[in-house]
Symmetry: C2
Subunit: 358 residues, 2 copies
């Protein structure tokens, strides 16, 4: 503990002073020219309680509840590219994931606006500003800071990985941990992908970025709606779906067992109609380890490789990139807000250009 | 029910066709020039569970939880006015209240950006994207649509008020009801005003807009932080605070009893150091009524008048405006997103100019 405190202070002093220097000398970013911005709810359901509503003595009787919709904040730059980008956050997160980074730099929202894309940032059903759920939930304040530090690969608590693309200042960690927000109803990939499909009905053809837990609902959205013209999946963490008869063996790990999920082959093959790219960051091994936070990602990368192979075997166009293999080191689970997120965004741009999605 | 359905369809046809005409003929709004935008968490606390954290078999032991902060999305136009505007939503709402209106027009976020103000839109602690609470909560899906229709003064369910400043299309009502989002921890005016005060430490001097339930935390924020240089309170609904010995008698109503709350006189008098204006809309009476949704606001306006008198008796500068008295009719509880919200914003601008806050 003493070691950690000492090194954190020493490192943060360096980072803060270089951060200040950067703020003083870096050119002020150009202003964003926003032709239109706003928010809306999309999708969802209405549950109605039987009975007769009494205006002056209201009870549940005869009343309705609107819930299970997504909340979306959108911005359109001037002369936007034809395809907007829809961004769907991961577990314990909201659209905040794509905004300012924990250390105060621009996130994918601003970066892709600057590249000329309209952006649609989603709070999924039963999360964040889309909190109204048709199904009850109990929220226990669950102390997860240390688990997240490990599982999201900032390091092995309390030590950061040596090459980690994360600002070691206490302020950045504080911001990172405060981006966490709970489910307000049971997690349901179908409820989420239904609302996402309704969003793509509204946006028309567009590109879907998913992070982590959103990987699964992302594939389901593309199955449900042909307006999904491409998927960029950052570290998908669950919901790997395979056709009947092709589900791989379970993958045990120090963080639990990862299982493939089955879908009808006709649904699966809808995923062969659009280009898909998957990125994973650094600091987890290919061989099993007893380190829980790292082993969690070993099996996910392995599963993603089998998944990509299966998509391509069925005639699809899917790629998985383990970023250290292309020389990009130190990536955490939050590639879109890492210190090198501009470099990550450039990788994504290259993919979009290659696939004529820009 | 038949009557409602019929009239809703007939009216919505009118509104939709005029809405379409508007969209075709109205000039496209000028783009917003945003010098800087982003988000952050502010304030909050950390609760720590005793014990030792085990990286590879994590339990609650030795782990921490960051919670009770506010979430803030900010935008700065080019050459902004000196004082930013901080907007705090009411009960069952998030910062979404200030964004696009239910019928798809620009809300106070865009309107005041266009007037040259930087805007800071808050999700209060334990709500929306600031969902992490240090105290547990159970979320029951509570059917409140009809109660909200009445209490937020769209009309008397299922009929709209004849002059209501609310688009009668089913789509607008759907959007309105989907802006509802639950508490993810116990409502606590002190937790909220602590985070708001931390925000004003960060912004420096600024103007605070509050809506409904945020009235109370708004006064507390100004007591806690002298950077609050003015308050615009839209239909404050609770938290009317008075000095010891000056709390008015309880006010019974068909919607329950409204009580004043007591604070030390030294705290109260901090509210005499800044200009404050309060607005209430239309369609509730001055005399008692058995109509629950309307009587709720009768006592709130009456309490606000006593509150303003008390602030001014102590040397303050507070005003309450009952909008029908100045010829502005049909206002719902959501003045900032009503059909005449540009007119409301102009009223607010006049106040800011009079008080040299712009």
């Amino acid at each position: 503990m003493f070691t950690r405190t000492l090194s954190a202070v020493a490192v943060s002093a360096l980072v803060l002073s270089s951060g200040t220097a950067y703020a003083q000398t870096a050119p002020k970013p150009e202003p964003l020219i926003i032709q239109e911005q706003g928010s809306f709810a999309v999708g969802g359901s209405v549950s109605v309680t039987p009975g007769t509503y009494d205006n002056n003595a209201p009870t549940a009787a005869g009343q309705a509840l609107h819930g299970d919709h997504a909340y979306v904040f959108y911005q359109k730059p001037q002369n936007p590219k034809a395809l907007p980008i829809v961004m769907l956050h991961g577990a314990f997160q909201s659209a905040r994931s794509w905004e300012t980074t924990p250390d105060g730099r621009e996130g994918f929202q601003n970066i892709f606006l600057r590249k000329g894309f309209s952006t649609y940032l989603v709070d999924q059903p039963r999360r964040g500003r889309a909190g109204n759920s048709t199904v009850a939930a109990t929220i226990e304040p669950t102390p997860y800071d240390q688990l997240f530090f490990d599982q999201f690969r900032l390091g092995k608590w309390p030590d950061y990985f040596q090459n980690v693309q994360f600002d070691r200042s206490p302020e950045a960690l504080d911001q990172f941990l405060r981006s966490v927000t709970p489910n307000t109803g049971p997690y349901d990939a179908n409820v989420i992908s239904d609302a996402m499909s309704a969003l793509f009905d509204k946006t028309g053809p567009g590109i879907l970025f998913t992070h982590s837990q959103a990987g699964g609902p992302g594939w389901l959205t593309a199955i449900k709606n042909t307006n999904v013209t491409g998927i960029v999946a950052l570290e998908p963490g669950s919901g790997f779906i395979f056709p009947e008869g092709e589900v791989p063996a379970d993958m045990p790990s120090a963080a639990g067992t990862l299982k493939g999920e089955v879908v009808p082959v006709a649904d699966f093959e809808k995923l062969t109609k659009l280009p898909i790219i998957i990125y994973y960051g650094d600091n987890f091994p290919i061989e099993p380890t007893s380190e829980r936070g790292r082993d969690n990602w070993r099996v996910r990368l392995a599963m993603a490789k089998l998944w990509v192979d299966t998509v391509n075997k069925h005639g699809g166009d899917a790629t998985v990139v383990h970023l250290p293999d292309v020389g990009i080191k130190g990536g955490t689970h939050f590639l879109m807000s890492d210190l090198n997120n501009v470099e990550i965004a450039d990788q994504v741009s290259k993919f979009l250009a290659d696939k004529k999605l820009d």
